[in-house]
């Protein structure tokens, strides 16, 4: 099992709350290879943070098994803590210490010798673009700089694995891109294993593999490309002249008299429509909608992205759950 940088098998976490037991993570199994970037993606409340914390040993697990670099999350907690970097979801560095003091504190705590510190800290600060802000209090940094400081601090002991919990939450797009650029450099130059939790689909595309988490379990676990292939049909994009009406019609395709409409998603003023065969359906669709007085602007076929795949997979999951319930009701009757 130690061939994996991060491993979880049937990992389960149950919280006791006043309302009863809540299963935040259920039977989660994942294996991350050394040097891989793994994305734990899913909507808010899916259990990404809880899963990360249990794997790190910050929370006790309720069932299953998990390890980092072959060290058990519960038993070898301190072996893990010496070898792993972590960025918590909220900014969790002492805000009343300066950038430099923060770096030095975490270096000291991680047992980095003063000589190594002298070399490593300026390097990391330069790498993170914080070289000019060494005297600034951490609490006074911008959101993006805070995340970069957290990254620099988590790397000060040269860990082999880093776990990043939504590292770009509340960060502007430019800083987000910069942050991922830094991660890419670490991956390429140091062979760092990265586990990243994120709700952003564009970030999921940057991972070698992703686990799509909903309600505490994976509904998909593969490379981004393979996950996109799991989506049924092909994707059309267009802007209708009357979006609400079109949406209502497409959600009830029998009224429209067009077959082969699989799913419709809104995308701003545009609509994304999954159909079985674009060559056949586009003329039918255009005709049927123009009979209703609706024109379609900029109609074209596009490649599904993680975002569409994500929404589609979650919907399918929900439908199956509802169907499952219905079946069980029939079964008992």
């Amino acid at each position: 099992m130690s061939e994996y940088a991060i491993a979880a098998d049937g990992l389960t976490k149950v919280f006791k709350t006043r309302g009863g037991l809540v299963t935040a993570v259920s039977e989660l199994t994942l294996h991350v290879q050394p040097g891989e970037t793994f994305g734990l993606i899913g909507p808010d409340g899916a259990g990404k943070t809880t899963a990360t914390r249990v794997i790190l040993g910050l929370l006790r697990r309720s069932g299953g098994h998990s390890s980092i670099l072959g060290y058990d999350s519960m038993r070898d907690t301190y072996a893990i803590r010496e070898r792993v970097g972590y960025i918590a979801q909220q900014f969790a560095l002492p805000a009343d210490l300066t950038v430099m003091e923060n770096m030095q504190f975490f270096a000291h705590v991680q047992g980095v010798s003063p000589r190594q510190q002298k070399q490593r800290i300026p390097d990391l600060l330069a790498f993170a673009g914080l070289g000019e802000f060494t005297e600034r209090l951490a609490g006074r940094l911008s959101g993006g700089m805070k995340k970069k400081l957290a990254l620099a601090c988590s790397l000060v002991h040269e860990p082999q694995v880093v776990l990043l919990d939504e590292p770009t939450l509340g960060v502007d797009p430019v800083s987000r891109r910069e942050f991922w650029h830094l991660l890419g450099k670490l991956r390429a130059e140091k062979g760092l294993t990265i586990l990243v939790c994120t709700p952003y689909m564009d970030e999921a595309e940057r991972c070698n593999r992703v686990g799509l988490m909903v309600n505490g379990r994976f509904i998909a676990y593969d490379t981004p490309k393979a996950i996109k292939r799991q989506v049924n049909g092909r994707l059309l994009e267009f802007t209708p002249s009357d979006t609400p009406n079109t949406l209502a019609l497409l959600q009830n395709p029998s009224r429209l008299g067009v077959d082969g409409i699989l799913e419709v998603q809104t995308y701003g003023a545009m609509l994304h429509l999954f159909v079985d065969d674009p060559a056949l359906r586009v003329p039918q669709l255009t005709a049927a909608l123009s009979a209703q007085g609706i024109t379609l602007d900029g109609l074209r076929e596009i490649e599904p992205r993680m975002e569409e795949a994500f929404i589609s997979l979650i919907r399918r999951q929900e439908e199956e759950r509802v169907d499952g319930k219905r079946l069980s009701v029939v079964g008992t009757a």
Binding site: F15, R53, R60, Y78, R81, L97, V109
Partner: protein, 377 residues
């Protein structure tokens, strides 16, 4: 290990010094409290505002009222015609004691049947006790004097003879003038030290949890007890500065004598400081927010002060309350502080309390370290 403790200590020191306003408050609170308490707290109530209703207005009644006033306990602030007037004045909170002397006082005294009514405001227990004791003592003396005059005039005793069959001579040890401050300062020292160490430690840990930094600390190799020690040391320093402030002010400003060995006292205080730190840590593990922490601390301070024997003697408490008092470190330290400061005794007389305090420290640190979570749940 030492390296990690040193790292935490450095961090705490930087944070403490950076927030100098808070530090200033922490260092000045004991001074302010000692000054206010030193001047405000008076166990012995004097100059009680008193209403006098003298319906005799003869030589005997005037002499009696004069004697009451001369004792220093009573100030006749108003004169009213009758007993109802005294009660009315007390209802209006204009006076807290009243003297009612019925008509023909001199005649009755001569016949040996003089009577005076003392009315006391019982809603204020300290005043009423003082007034009651003072009035009884003054009246006895006054009566004895009258008796002596009568007997002497009758030529029954010569001047060098004493009439009274029994005299008590009382000698008060350690605090011969029964100075309130001599009694209060050792207890106040215990109270302020406990309050500060508990508060500082508890809030330092809870704040870390509340702002979320505890998560980032927990994923480092720092062990909980290393974190605890690193956090405690700055608080120990602050507590000791405060201890020196209080002792210094007590001795040099208020003139309270320090009878015992100061070195011994410092060592025992260190032990006491640790008990407060342990209690603070325990509170920090129980409470989730700073609000809860402060509520718990104020409860402990108040109850600990009362049950610890700061003002009220512990031996009068019912058994079970007496034992509940042992939960608070102050209970163990107040006898030590009084022993060393006021009585000037050494460890040979205090070993019982010192042992109890030492056991307390060990227990509370073990409990606190166990309760201090390595994990977030």
């Amino acid at each position: 290990m030492l390296r990690r403790i040193w790292a935490v200590l450095q961090k705490e020191l930087i944070q403490t010094l950076r927030d100098w306003r808070t530090l200033l408050i922490q260092l000045s609170i004991p001074m302010i409290q000692l000054f206010l308490f030193g001047y405000a707290i008076s166990m012995n109530v004097e100059h009680i505002p008193t209403a006098v209703s003298d319906q005799s207005l003869d030589a005997a009644s005037l002499a009696y009222v004069q004697a009451l006033q001369a004792s220093g306990y009573f100030d006749a602030v108003m004169y009213v015609p009758d007993q109802a007037g005294v009660v009315a004045a007390m209802d209006a909170s204009e006076v807290q004691a009243g003297i009612f002397i019925p008509p023909d006082f001199a005649g009755k005294v001569a016949r040996g049947e003089g009577q005076v009514l003392l009315l006391v405001d019982g809603s204020d227990i300290f005043t009423s006790q003082s007034a009651y004791n003072a009035a009884t003592a003054v009246s006895q003396n006054h009566a004895t004097d009258l008796l002596l005059q009568k007997v002497t005039r009758a030529g029954m005793v010569s001047d060098d003879q004493t009439l009274l069959p029994l005299t008590t001579s009382a000698r008060i040890l350690y605090n011969p003038n029964l100075d309130d401050l001599w009694f209060l300062i050792p207890g106040m020292l215990a109270m302020l030290l406990q309050m500060q160490t508990v508060t500082l430690t508890a809030t330092a840990v809870v704040r870390e949890r509340e702002v979320g930094t505890i998560e980032q600390l927990l994923v480092t190799p720092i062990r909980p007890f290393e974190l605890m020690i690193g956090k405690m040391i700055p608080n120990i320093i602050i507590a000791f500065v405060n201890l020196l402030t209080i002792v210094g002010l007590g001795v040099y400003w208020f003139g309270v004598p320090f009878q015992g060995d100061f070195g011994l006292f410092l060592w025992l205080s260190l032990l006491f400081v640790f008990s407060g730190l342990g209690l603070g840590l325990l509170i920090s593990t129980i409470s989730q927010t700073q609000k809860q922490t402060l509520q718990l601390i104020s409860l402990i301070t108040l109850v600990g002060t009362v049950l610890g024997g700061f003002i009220f003697p512990r031996y009068t408490m019912p058994r079970w309350i007496y034992y509940v008092g042992y939960i608070f470190p102050m209970t163990h330290f107040i006898p030590i502080a009084r022993g060393v400061i006021s009585k000037g005794v050494g460890i040979e007389y205090l070993w019982e309390q010192v042992t109890a305090l030492a056991i307390y420290v060990v227990l509370i640190l073990i409990v606190a370290a166990r309760a201090f979570r390595e994990r977030l749940d």
